[in-house]
């Protein structure tokens, strides 16, 4: 039974091991793009397995992992973003034939770790998940071995990662000391027994535990590594970092809050265990995260750094959903993650293409690109408008749902106000990229490139949902509601 519920991950591991062996015995395979195609196939297989296992809900492996609707969503999410990353790496120059096999294997390992993180129902499992993800991320961030920046990125990621997981494990130990257990449901039971009177050290422990989550989702005050790592890491890696680990962090945080810190009443509503008030703290964290992300992005001149800070700002928006804690808010979070995945993957993908073309990823290398490569320019415009939250694009619907959930909670109008003003600020730096692409003319020789069909198909595959979900979002929202209810 447990194994069956774990089928998606097992499938992934199966494919991963096979690739490992194949690569060892048939060295010729790494010459072409086989490993990346293999990654896509394994993701597809894992997604199919997810579908097969989606009706098995409940805790498994002695309560170490929890499978429910949210788990199903996060699994789909990870497998999709991993497959998409492999797809966009197909034509990347940064990951060439020398590293394709390693890259593919690491990517699959990373995805496995993400799944563990998002499914964990026990602190030990969570910690293993986080460390699996982190260690592989360090390697991936430093994947361009000759590039100093890539090495720097890897090292920075490592240092920050070590600090935050140290803090987290300290927090976990405090919680263990207080409740006598590491399993989420038992923690909840122990907390309920205390009936609202918790020692201060418990709140300290919660904050320390949050450090681990915050590092993964890059929320203030543990976001400092993000721009450096995104800038230094190869673009396909940064692309995946901006989507996968973030979502895993949110998934783990969701499971932690819902299972360890709240109770579900008969109507399917969650209420916090007495004595725990997360909303005001999360509201402040959300506000600072988006303000810091947006304000820091304004001064950047490197597109990957701009997108890194923008991804921090988006974390702030998603955290607004955590303030509300209603099923509607959780389905908004899920919806937001879905649209964020499409538009952010798209934006990073365009950056990757431009980097390969121009040799660097400064805003200046985007100059006049809209006129020389209109398809690319239009796609980038769609992704950036969507990231800003302009109607017609799915990013707007994401914000519409989140703000809609927030505005129903009395006392948090200030956060909603701050949130919408932040999206105005974000317009400024997104427009810096669009301005360069469309409003300016390139200096000197014009480089243009006919995009290969794979890239056109892929970009369309992200741009079309970005528009369609902006106009007809009911089916996806209903799906999100179903996952939350399960």
């Amino acid at each position: 039974m447990s194994l069956k519920a774990f089928l998606p991950e097992l499938t992934l591991v199966g494919f991963l091991s096979a690739l490992f062996l194949l690569d060892g015995f048939v060295p010729k395979l790494r010459e072409n793009r086989f490993p990346l195609v293999w990654v896509m196939v394994s993701c597809l297989g894992a997604a199919l397995a997810t579908k097969a296992a989606s009706n098995l809900t409940g805790p498994f492996f002695n309560g170490m992992v929890l499978s429910n609707g949210l788990s199903t969503f996060f699994r789909y999410f990870f497998f999709f973003s991993c497959g998409a990353t492999a797809y966009l790496t197909l034509s990347s120059k940064e990951i060439d034939s020398r590293g394709r096999s390693e890259f593919s294997i690491l990517l699959l390992c990373l995805t496995f770790g993400l799944s563990l993180m998002a499914l964990s129902n026990h602190f030990l499992m969570l910690y293993i998940g986080i460390e699996t993800v982190s260690i592989i991320s360090f390697v991936l961030a430093g994947f361009s071995r000759e590039s100093l920046r890539s090495n720097e990125a890897s090292f920075k990621y490592l240092v920050y990662g070590a600090v935050s997981s140290g803090l987290m494990i300290f927090g976990i130990s405090l919680i263990y000391g207080y409740t006598g257990t590491l399993a989420y449901p038992q923690i909840a039971e122990a907390l309920v027994k205390n009936n609202g009177a918790h020692p201060y050290v418990f709140y300290l422990a919660l904050f320390l535990v949050y450090a681990g989550f915050a590092y993964k989702i890059s929320s203030f005050p543990f976001h400092f590594w993000t721009p450096d790592v995104y800038e230094g890491a190869p673009t396909p890696v940064a692309t995946f970092f901006s989507v996968g680990p973030k979502a895993a962090g949110f998934g783990a945080l969701l499971h932690f809050i819902l299972t360890a810190l709240s109770q579900k009443d008969g109507n399917g509503q969650w209420t916090m265990i007495p004595g725990i008030q997360l909303a005001p703290i999360l509201a402040v964290l959300s506000a600072t995260t988006m303000v810091v992300g947006n304000l820091s992005a304004i001064a950047q001149t490197n597109v990957k750094r701009i997108l890194a800070f923008s991804s921090i700002a988006h974390v702030g928006y998603v955290l607004m959903g955590f303030v509300v804690m209603t099923p509607a808010a959780f389905s908004s979070i899920i919806f937001y993650l879905i649209v964020y995945c499409a538009m952010n993957l798209g934006a990073f993908w365009v950056v990757g293409i431009v980097t390969d073309l121009q040799g660097n990823d400064d805003v200046s290398s985007f100059r006049g690109l809209g006129w020389n490569m209109p398809f690319l320019g239009v796609c980038m415009a769609i992704f950036l408008f969507s990231l800003t939250g302009i109607p017609l694009f799915s990013g707007f619907i994401g914000k519409f749902l989140l703000f809609g959930a927030l505005i129903q909670v009395p006392g948090y109008l200030w956060l909603a106000l701050l949130g919408v003003l932040n999206s105005v600020v974000s317009l400024y730096y997104y427009m810096k990229i669009l301005k360069a692409m469309w409003l300016e003319r390139p200096e000197g020789e014009v480089k243009a490139l006919r995009l290969p069909l794979t890239q056109i198909v892929g970009l369309l595959g992200l741009a079309v949902p970005t528009i369609v979900l902006g106009l007809f979002f009911s089916p996806v929202l209903e799906l999100a509601q179903k996952w939350v209810a399960q």
Binding site: L392, W414, S474
Partner: protein, 508 residues
């Protein structure tokens, strides 16, 4: 189901955009004539609409209604009443004329006209939408083509002007978004239907919200949220600083659309939402609105007087003239509100003429200086070389300053009449009427410096208007004169709707 005329008028330009994008790059004339067709058809439909609109009926007509997003009760809900039909007609007319006014654009013709048609769709949608969500969608979507039209085809500081316009307007819209969400969640049953919200406006009373630790009345906060969004668009002082930049840097046709149609969306929005949905809050804010209107009139006029750039002068004159609209609206009298809506239409035609005429001069001499920044003479005495041009400018100018017999007089007179008949605001009329004087001063002074006097030798080769330009201006010229003599065609259209609106406000 009846003939979906409003949807056709809204989406034909959008279809035109797609057609244009599919046309070959190297045939600019084909692109231009395609745009003529795709703006011409909505214009013809507009004529049909005008003939079939039942002016005696105060409720919405030509309604199209279909469920769109069930989860949020969002509908595709289009319809027009006496408030929107003048704006709809203005939009299709100006869009059609602007296609001709843009004939001289050489750079990226395809992109230009595609964006332009996209813009027309957005504008039509704003005036027809009766579902707040739909309205908001059109409202925001307009920003995208506008950003590119100013940013790519604009003047020297186009990039700055474009981003400033975009940021300002977005700041307003996000507040509107919050207000929209709050209106949805505080209404029972939850709805975005503007007419239903107006119908049940009492439900927003006696509720409070907390913001930064203080408690406020819900309806006033929502009123303010919407108001700031619309005020930026009008623009009402002190939210006007984007306007001179955007108007001056935009290409001629886009300035025409900006001043002719986009500014009216602000006041239209106030009349469509703030007034009927929050009547009590509107009463509460009416004096403030009146003061802002007067500030707009005087401040805009004074700024216009100080300008050395012809286009900037026209831009600031828009600020001043929109002040009359605000004043008329705030007066809460039948005459005042009728005058305000009439002024929205009349300013649309007269300011469109002014911007078109400025564009004509700019196309020939490539500057717009009344007085050059170094103090030397800019234009001067060009009546000698361009008599038709001068005549057209004189008509536009006199219409704009409110000369009896031309359209501007009717609306300004109605505004002042209405405001004066409200005893609360008589003193404001006195101050506001100084604006008329200032208006005459800056316009006539400009006319003197640019057209009269000895000819500046630099411009002795300036040619008069060609036939394309004359024909572009002719319809506006006719409208300005006809509506100045006999304004009833427009007044009749909106009368019943405004009477209904005022009845809902508890006045008149």
């Amino acid at each position: 189901m009846q003939f979906p005329i409003l949807s056709l008028m809204t989406f034909i330009p959008l279809l035109g955009m797609l057609v244009i994008l599919a046309l070959p790059k190297d045939k600019p004339n084909l692109v231009r004539w395609t745009s003529v067709i795709f703006t011409g058809v909505p214009l013809l439909l507009g004529v049909w609409l005008y003939r079939h609109f039942d002016a005696s009926n105060a409720s919405v007509q030509f309604v199209e209604r279909a469920s769109w997003i069930k989860a949020f009760n969002i509908e595709y809900y289009m319809g027009i009443d006496g408030l929107s039909i003048p704006m709809v007609l203005l939009t299709v007319l100006l869009s059609f004329l602007c296609v001709f006014a843009s004939w001289g654009i050489e750079k990226g013709v395809k992109g230009y006209y595609a964006m332009f048609l996209f813009l027309e769709s957005g504008m039509m949608g704003v005036f027809c939408a009766l579902d707040f969500f739909l309205f908001f969608l059109f409202w925001e979507v307009m920003l995208l083509p506008m950003y590119f039209l100013i940013g790519i085809w604009g003047g020297k500081d186009k990039v700055y002007a474009a981003i400033k316009f975009f940021l300002y307007t977005l700041a307003g819209s996000v507040l509107m978004l919050l207000a929209m969400l709050a209106m949805y969640y505080y209404s029972e049953p939850h709805t975005f239907d503007l007419l239903a919200l107006a119908e049940n406006h009492k439900q927003f009373l006696d509720k409070t919200v907390t913001l930064f630790g203080a408690t406020y009345a819900l309806d006033k906060i929502l009123w303010l949220g919407l108001f700031i969004g619309f005020a930026i668009k009008v623009p009402i002082w002190p939210f006007h600083t984007w306007l001179p930049w955007a108007h001056v840097e935009a290409p001629t046709a886009v300035s025409v659309i900006l001043a002719g149609v986009l500014l009216k969306m602000g006041t239209y929005g106030l009349l469509r939402m703030n007034y009927p949905i929050f009547p009590e809050a509107t009463q509460w804010a009416s004096t403030a609105l009146m003061i802002l209107g007067v500030i707009n009139i005087i401040y805009g006029a004074l700024c216009a007087m100080a300008q050395k750039d012809l286009k900037k002068l026209v831009a600031y004159s828009s600020v001043s003239h929109m002040g009359y609209v605000i004043m008329g609206m705030a007066s809460f009298t039948t005459a005042g509100v009728n005058g305000a809506v009439m002024q929205m239409f009349n300013h649309g035609t007269s300011t469109a003429m002014m911007f078109l005429l400025v564009g004509v001069a700019y196309d020939r001499v490539h500057h717009r200086w009344i007085v050059k920044p170094d103090g030397s003479k800019g234009f001067g005495g060009i009546a000698a070389v361009a008599p038709v041009y001068t005549g057209m400018m004189a008509i536009a100018l006199f219409a704009s300053l409110g000369l009896p017999g031309l359209s501007g007089f009717i609306s300004e007179a109605l505004v002042f009449l209405g405001t004066f008949s409200n005893p609360k605001y008589q003193s404001y009329v006195v101050i506001g009427s100084i604006g008329i004087l200032l208006g005459a001063a800056y316009l006539l002074w400009m006319f003197m410096r640019v057209f009269l006097g000895p000819l500046n030798e630099e411009h002795k080769d300036m040619t008069d208007m060609n036939w394309r330009e004359r024909l572009t201006l002719l319809p506006l010229c006719v409208l300005v004169i006809v509506l100045g003599v006999y304004p009833m065609p427009v007044l009749n259209l909106m009368g019943p709707t405004i009477a209904k609106l005022l009845a809902a406000l508890g006045v008149a």
